[in-house]
């Protein structure tokens, strides 16, 4: 009988021990294509933040990430298309210019600040921007990986492609710039004077420094998070 008491107490102890073992939280999984990059150019884990850029491993491009903090990168600001003295100046809406805004203003300010340690920001080509289009993963979400490209609006985003024939209803403007609409995932040509959103891109010179599992990544261990607006 003593053996039965001891063995049953051992079973109870084993169950208690099993229940009390601290179980590791399921780790985040790296995105197969994108890596978050902090404002000072450090790669982050998928749940870390804040991040200011996204590195696209497929195209080896570094993308500006929009914000909602009224900085120059705020996703609400719009821009008319203006590049190298071509297009229309200052017909978009933003807070960071005394006059209104155009795409060249955003490029100039972003390069001056050296976002993510990079100073060769520019408008993306149509092919580059179109490569970000993907099917929405949530009802009515934008046609982009919105967990990485946050604050992307359901609207048109400028590309660097210009001198494109406008459709008939814009006939009076003749030529315009190409844009990608992340609400529909479609491309279209818009008059330069149109106020559209803009997301800049850069071909970072030191892309290899941003690769997954670099030693620099291990320096940032704290997991911080930003619950979104739809959190219960």
């Amino acid at each position: 009988m003593n053996a039965r008491i001891v063995s049953s107490l051992l079973i109870l102890a084993a169950i208690t021990l099993y229940c009390s073992i601290e179980r590791a939280t399921e780790p985040s999984h790296e995105h197969p294509r994108y890596t978050k990059i902090s404002a000072d150019g450090e790669p982050l884990k998928p749940w870390q933040g804040p991040w200011a850029c996204v590195l696209d491993h497929q195209s080896n491009l570094l993308w500006e990430v929009k914000t909602d903090n009224e900085s120059i990168h705020d996703g609400y600001w719009t821009y008319s298309w203006f590049n190298n003295h071509a297009g229309e100046e200052n017909l978009g809406d933003c807070y960071f210019e005394p006059a209104r805004c155009d795409t060249e203003d955003l490029v100039r300010h972003t390069n001056r600040h050296g976002l993510c340690g990079v100073k060769n920001w520019r408008l993306p080509t149509h092919t580059e921007l179109q490569s970000l289009v993907q099917a929405p993963t949530r009802p009515s979400s934008t046609h982009i990986a919105h967990d990485y490209f946050i604050h992307i609006k359901h609207g048109d985003y400028w590309t660097s492609d210009s001198d494109d024939q406008l459709p008939a209803h814009f006939e009076q403007f003749q030529m315009g710039g190409k844009a990608v609409n992340f609400h529909t995932g479609q491309s279209m040509t818009l008059p330069y004077r149109n106020a559209a959103f803009t997301m800049l891109v850069s071909t970072a010179p030191n892309l290899t420094a941003f690769r997954f599992n670099t030693p620099r990544l291990s320096n940032r261990t704290s997991v911080i998070t930003q619950p979104k607006e739809n959190d219960k």
Binding site: S8, E70, I224, T225, N230
Partner: protein, 499 residues
């Protein structure tokens, strides 16, 4: 023969009691954090199904045992100790069954759910005092004594009766509902969605009361919801009233500390805030009326295969039958000033996103064309945040931070004294537009009671809405400054529209 029947019933009851206990303890983890210690050995997923099945089996077995005892009048065998313990066991089993069925029928006003939990714990005590002591006394011999039923004396009739009666009884329990009469409204009657029930139409409308349990912060975790409903050709109006002694509007306020601004919270980092949160109310609608929130409740840390776990370890909602459940989520701060409830839905488990730490399975907002509330921090961290905007003059945190009357954050202009608190909810643009704005709602708190008026079109064009019509089932939940710890009830409320 009697011995064989007893052994069969005993075998069934061993399986049933363990199923019921394990599934019931998992259900208890939702309300009682202390039971989360047992989480690694408790089942996950749709445990309400197993709990109901075992409840039905246990009820059938109890009646079967009564019949057995009536036929077999021989006195109980065993030592005085075991006879006494068995009588204790009968008592707690009866208490557990009666209170369990009370919870099933929403008869929880007299704390049936608490007695149910206590009786479950007493059953564990009984199992130790009865089963464990027998194991100590007899060891391996007990297995042979309990599990071996001689083939010649096998009670086939009893087995057949159990196998037929249990599924039939379980099937009958799948349809459990109370009814809410949706009274017809004259076409010329105007209703103002203002959170007040002053309209004559409301005064003359019959109501039902639904007792809800298991929520954080309410007195004993309970509140009774009084419900009225009216409809016209195009819309249905609902009036909900529930007791909530605290008018909670301080939603994750930001507090200035020596180290900068911090979010006041006690569980938000794990998405289970229960202190610094707004009051809320949720309504779920479905074409079907099943138990466990119509089968959408998946309990445990990782209740769905190949899907991420949840941070609080309690579970999440998802529809695994492919049907959409409509979910209206009124929030006392975030949506009340928009005169809206957040129109959400419960659908199939969503595709996990690499960049999002919180996975909410099938619980998702309807799509929107524009509009939003945003949180007044640039990036959330437990250790500190930078606000997006600061109020121009110090304001109470119990409200939405007004856009006009606040300015973009600049550290140089952050002169607020240590201890200052500011709101964390900011309306950056217009209110929701599109599918997510289908439900108009306004709540008003007075003297410990919330009154919530809510209206939606009977038919919307959204794939994520359930049409309001005869036979639709509804569930309600109240939140007292808690993020997910809401009250609940089992029996669905079926809508009966007047012709």
């Amino acid at each position: 023969m009697y011995r064989s029947t007893f052994l069969l019933l005993h075998l069934f009851i061993i399986i049933t009691v363990f199923t019921s206990l394990f599934s019931g303890l998992r259900i208890a983890t939702v309300t009682h954090d202390s039971f989360l210690l047992l989480s690694p050995i408790l089942p996950e997923g749709r445990v309400h199904f197993w709990h109901m099945l075992s409840a039905c089996t246990l009820t059938i077995l109890s009646f079967s045992y009564l019949i057995y005892r009536k036929k077999n009048k021989s006195p109980p065998t065993g030592s005085k100790y075991h006879i006494f313990i068995n009588q204790f066991g009968y008592l707690v089993f009866v208490a557990s069954l009666i209170t369990g069925w009370c919870v099933y029928f929403n008869l929880t006003q007299f704390n049936a759910h608490t007695i149910h939990l206590i009786s479950a714990l007493l059953i564990i005590a009984y199992l130790i005092l009865h089963s464990w002591v027998y194991v100590i006394q007899y060891g391996k011999k007990l297995i042979k004594r309990l599990l071996f039923i001689p083939k010649r004396q096998f009670p086939w009739v009893c087995l057949l009766a159990l196998l037929l009666a249990t599924p039939l009884f379980f099937y009958l329990t799948l349809h459990n509902q109370t009814f809410l009469q949706v009274t017809s409204l004259k076409p010329q009657t105007l209703m103002e969605v203002d959170g007040l029930d002053t309209e004559e139409a409301w005064q003359n409308t019959p109501s039902i009361k639904v007792h809800t349990i298991g929520g954080a912060n309410f007195i004993d975790g309970q509140t009774t919801v009084t419900i009225k409903a009216l409809h016209n050709q195009h819309e249905t109006f609902f009036l909900f009233k529930w007791q909530d002694p605290t008018h909670s509007l301080a939603h994750l306020p930001l507090e200035k500390t020596q180290d900068g601004w911090k979010v006041k919270e006690n569980g938000f980092v794990n998405f289970d805030e229960r202190k610094h949160y707004e009051d809320k109310f949720a309504v779920m609608l479905s074409h079907t009326c099943g138990n466990g929130a119509d089968g959408t409740t998946h309990l445990g840390k990782k209740p769905l295969d190949n899907k991420p776990n949840n941070w609080h370890g309690k579970g999440y909602h998802a529809s695994v039958d492919g049907n959409i459940r409509d979910l209206w989520h009124w929030k006392a701060v975030r949506t009340n000033d928009m005169v809206l409830a957040d129109d959400n839905f419960i659908g199939p488990p969503a595709q996990p996103l690499h960049g999002q730490r919180r996975y909410s399975a099938g619980y998702l907002p309807d799509g929107k064309e524009s509009g939003a509330y945003v949180m007044n921090w640039q990036w959330y961290s437990q250790t500190g945040v930078i606000p997006k905007r600061l109020p121009d003059t110090l304001t109470t945190p119990n409200q939405v931070l007004p856009w006009f009357g606040s300015s973009a954050y600049q550290s140089a202009k952050d002169n607020y004294p240590i201890g200052s608190q500011i709101p964390s909810v900011l309306y950056r643009s217009n209110r929701f537009e599109g599918d997510r704005a289908d439900v108009r709602a306004r709540g008003h708190w007075k003297d410990g009671v919330w009154t919530l008026e809510l209206v939606r079109k009977n038919q919307t064009s959204s794939d994520h809405d359930v049409a309001l019509q005869n036979g639709i089932c509804m569930w309600v939940s109240a939140f007292d400054h808690s993020q997910i710890a809401h009250t609940r009830h089992n029996a669905a409320i079926a809508l009966r529209y007047s012709l």
